[in-house]
Amino acid sequence: MHPYLPHTQADIDHMLQKIGVESIEDLFTDIDAKALLKSPMQIPKAKSEGRVIRKLTKLGERNIDTANWLSFVGGGIYEHMIPTIVPHLISRSEFYTAYTPYQPEISQGTLQAIFEYQTMICELTGLQVANASHYDGSTALAEAVFMACGTTRRDTILIPDTLSPESKNVLRTYLKYKDLNLIEVPSKDGVVSSHLLKEYMNEDIAAYLVATPNYYGNLEDLTGVSEQLHANKSLLVIMSNPMSLSLFKSPGEWGADIAVGDGQVFGNPMNFGGPTLGYMACTEKLMRKIPGRIVGETLDLDGNRGYVLTLQAREQHIRREKATSNITSNEALNVLAATIYLSTMGLAGIKEVARRSHINACYLRDHLKGIEGIKVMHNQQIFNEFVIQIREGMDVMKSLELFQIIPGIIIDHEKNLLLITTTEVHEKEDLDTLVVAMKEVLA
């Protein structure tokens, strides 16, 4: 028998007898013969662990060797140092082999961790209520749209053109079939002016969804924006790389009603883009509108503190077709990783991560600026990313491959714009290596 299947032939015979059938095939007589598979699936024979590991090791070698390449790629997914205790702890099988905590008495581990996470997200965003969790930042943003449209009973969403293409794409898909409208506000020098925003205000506007830092790495100046929106009875939704929130003004401080973003930066590996986790927080006022899993603190029969899933009426259990979100399985284990990460790092830790990520980017921008053939595109406050323009006709991605360097993402092939990202994992020597290599290939 296969190692994952504990049945012996004697067990099977005993069970068939108890059921009162002759063979396993007899258990499938209720299936119309026409629906039965005529020939076996074309899936190869089982492999031993040894051979599977050999095969996957070889496949892994068809990716670049991550230990020996230098990457300045971000744009939504970031490589940060992950404390060794994070993978250790999320590998406790009581965490990862459990499911949604439907039975709270034997799920206090998951529930309490989520409660702690909710607290941390509230603190980081400066808002009052947080859930756990969405699939990623972009789907969280899409769900924020539904919240906003549901609350305001309006159907149009404003976004700046500085939102990342990934988020724009997901938004477009989600909105298309609900007949909601998306309007893009143009940017200038890599940010959107709040004066310009005024021109777009009307009574159809449910919300303004703005990312800061935005896709170009620039901080959006949101002074007065929430006032403008609230005066128009619209909501402000702010999307952030949450690592930046230890240094920069929080969504709550900017007056946001809803904050969303991707929590991958907190203790989760890049994983080729997934799984990550989408966080969402909102004001107290919107508490009963927020979708997804929420854990509340309560007492048990003996008066001892405990945790339960709560505010579930909004969900699919009871109202079913009235539910405004269908999310059930979410990214709980990634939430746990984020909780452990934030517990380990503390404020001082994430501030230091953010500071080094930021200063590294400033240093790199400074040192690339002077190079012939490079133009720094925007003159804005950045966090840890910035855009440069490379001399026309120069394929910098290809040239730097020889140095085992991936310098960033080409975000505009025509204009040859390169988005460069740094985090605290880059040492000064790594930054200098890029600068030297850039000089060499552009010389």
Binding site: P6, M41, F95, Q118, S138, N271, G273, N326, G346
Partner: protein, 486 residues
């Protein structure tokens, strides 16, 4: 200490991580964040030393129950064994440390895995088109419904708004319908627990966009009229969606394609053994018939001649439903499961899952109400105790906890009163099933003789029954620092 939360073990000056020198310390002095952008009020995060973070979460884990602890027969959740080799592979840095925006030629290993997994899922479902992008089962549902909608729009069938859903369906089905801008229409089940064909007939008309169905359904019953049902929907130009949550009954035996479905999602975290993670991450790939292939969300991976793989957006794609390519870390585990199980192993898994469910049902029929007598597939429902007295299904579930096993899904599907929905999966041995059966029989006896044992249960877990009512009324959703109100 065990019951403190992380903030309550925090103290000013502790730290869990150490940074050594920063080479740009001097350089950094010239930088300051302008007031306009600078954060004013610092977020309060816990300050805990590394070893206490370890103890805190180790102790929290010990207040959880997982598949590695014991039987976990949650109906429709397929809590099967999560193989450890899957975790080993997923943790390999050459996979976990890859960035989705690197160039295709730098991640050919990942892309080949995605390509091959698309093919394996295609073989498992019969569907020629597969997109791995959706992140969970209900995300797959939404995706599938969007595909339906776009297809109907392209056919000029914009009036087709109604999606028929059985009353036994997963609650996410109607919710997904709403999110995709359709209207849900409920069809009743008959006394045998399958779709009432007469009721269905009354609902079908030219406005019918389609039908969503789980097969076997949530009662664990195979829809005997499945070929007729799918045909009827097709007759009026509708599409049929298969909620693949219950695919663990079908592997190698029947397929959505053969049943007449047009679209299906799979839950990799159910059927294909990837861990549930306390609620996620999951993965909900969608498979479609030929005529819908070009509507799939993307990018998907295609192969060029020389074992080289590229991304491609299908021609009429609904677009992106998630960042990048979906939950790659989850695919890796499913891919490895395919390799370690092989085609024959998968079929055997489904057969044994069905065997286990029928065996349990046979053993419990004298003490619990069996609302549907027919053969079940990988799961079955009980309508509570035969002689309940004042004991509810909730009491039975809580009493199971005292016996150190995980209760089944309860009070679902809604159409069965006092429902217990039991899915043992193929991972459980005869001895474990017998233990669980004996506990359920003992509880049935206790219900008659000592009902207070059930009313008071659980008493051996880390907490007793929790007050879920007052928390919903005035929710405490984050830590109250120093008892403050928010």
């Amino acid at each position: 200490m065990m019951k403190k939360n992380i903030y309550e073990i925090s103290k000013e000056g502790r730290r869990g991580y150490y940074f050594d020198t920063y080479d740009l310390e001097d350089y950094s002095k010239s930088f300051e964040i302008p007031d306009k952008f600078r954060r004013e009020e610092a977020p309060r995060l816990p300050q805990v030393s590394e070893n206490y973070v370890v103890r805190h979460f180790t102790n929290l884990s010990n207040r959880n129950y997982g598949v590695d602890t014991g039987m976990y027969p949650l109906g429709s959740c397929t809590m099967k064994y999560n193989p450890k080799i899957n975790e080993v592979i997923a943790a390999m840095p050459n996979f976990s440390h890859t960035h989705p925006s690197w160039r295709e030629k730098h991640v050919q290993g990942n892309m080949k895995i995605i390509y091959e997994l698309q093919g394996m899922l295609s073989e498992l479902t019969g569907m020629p088109g597969i997109s791995l992008q959706p992140a969970a089962g209900s995300h797959g549902e939404l995706t599938g419904l969007m595909i339906m909608k776009q297809y109907l729009i392209d056919q000029g069938d914009v009036h087709k708004k109604n999606i028929i859903i059985p009353d036994s369906a997963h609650g996410t089905n109607p919710a997904s319908v709403t999110m995709a801008g359709f209207v849900a229409k409920e069809v009743k089940s008959n006394a045998e627990g399958t779709i009432d064909m007469d009721a269905l007939e009354l609902l079908i008309d030219e406005n019918t966009a389609g039908l969503m169905l789980t097969n076997p359904n949530t009662l664990g019953l195979f829809e005997k009229d499945i070929l007729e049902i799918t045909k009827r929907i097709h007759d009026v130009g509708g599409l049929v969606y298969c909620d693949g949550a219950n695919m663990n009954a079908n592997m190698g035996i029947t397929r959505p394609l053969e049943m007449g479905f047009d679209i299906v999602h799979l839950n990799l975290h159910k059927t294909l053994s990837t861990p549930h993670g306390g609620g996620g991450p999951g993965s909900g790939p969608v498979g479609v018939v030929s005529r819908l292939k070009e509507y799939l969300p993307g990018p998907i991976v295609i192969a060029s001649d020389e074992d080289f793989y590229t991304f491609k957006m299908p021609a009429k794609s609904i677009g992106h439903v998630k960042n990048y390519f979906g939950n790659f870390g989850v695919y890796l585990r499913a891919y490895v499961y395919f390799l370690t199980m092989g085609g024959e192993g998968l079929k055997l898994a489904s057969q044994l899952a069905v065997l286990n469910a029928n065996y349990m049902k046979a053993c419990l029929k004298d003490a619990y109400k069996v609302p549907y007598k027919a053969l079940c597939k990988h799961e079955f429902v009980l309508a509570g105790l035969k002689e309940p007295g004042d004991v509810s299904t909730l009491d039975v579930a809580k009493r199971l906890i005292d016996y150190k096993v995980h209760p089944p899904t309860i009070y679902f599907p809604l159409i069965v009163e006092q429902c217990l929905m039991i899915e043992p999966t193929e991972s459980e041995s005869l001895e474990t099933l017998d233990d669980y059966i004996n506990i359920l029989l003992k509880i049935a006896k206790e219900a008659k003789e000592q009902p207070e044992l059930l009313h008071n249960a659980p008493t051996t877990a880390s907490v007793r029954r929790l007050d879920e009512v007052s928390v919903a009324r005035s929710p405490v959703l984050s830590y109250r620092f120093n008892g403050e109100e928010k």
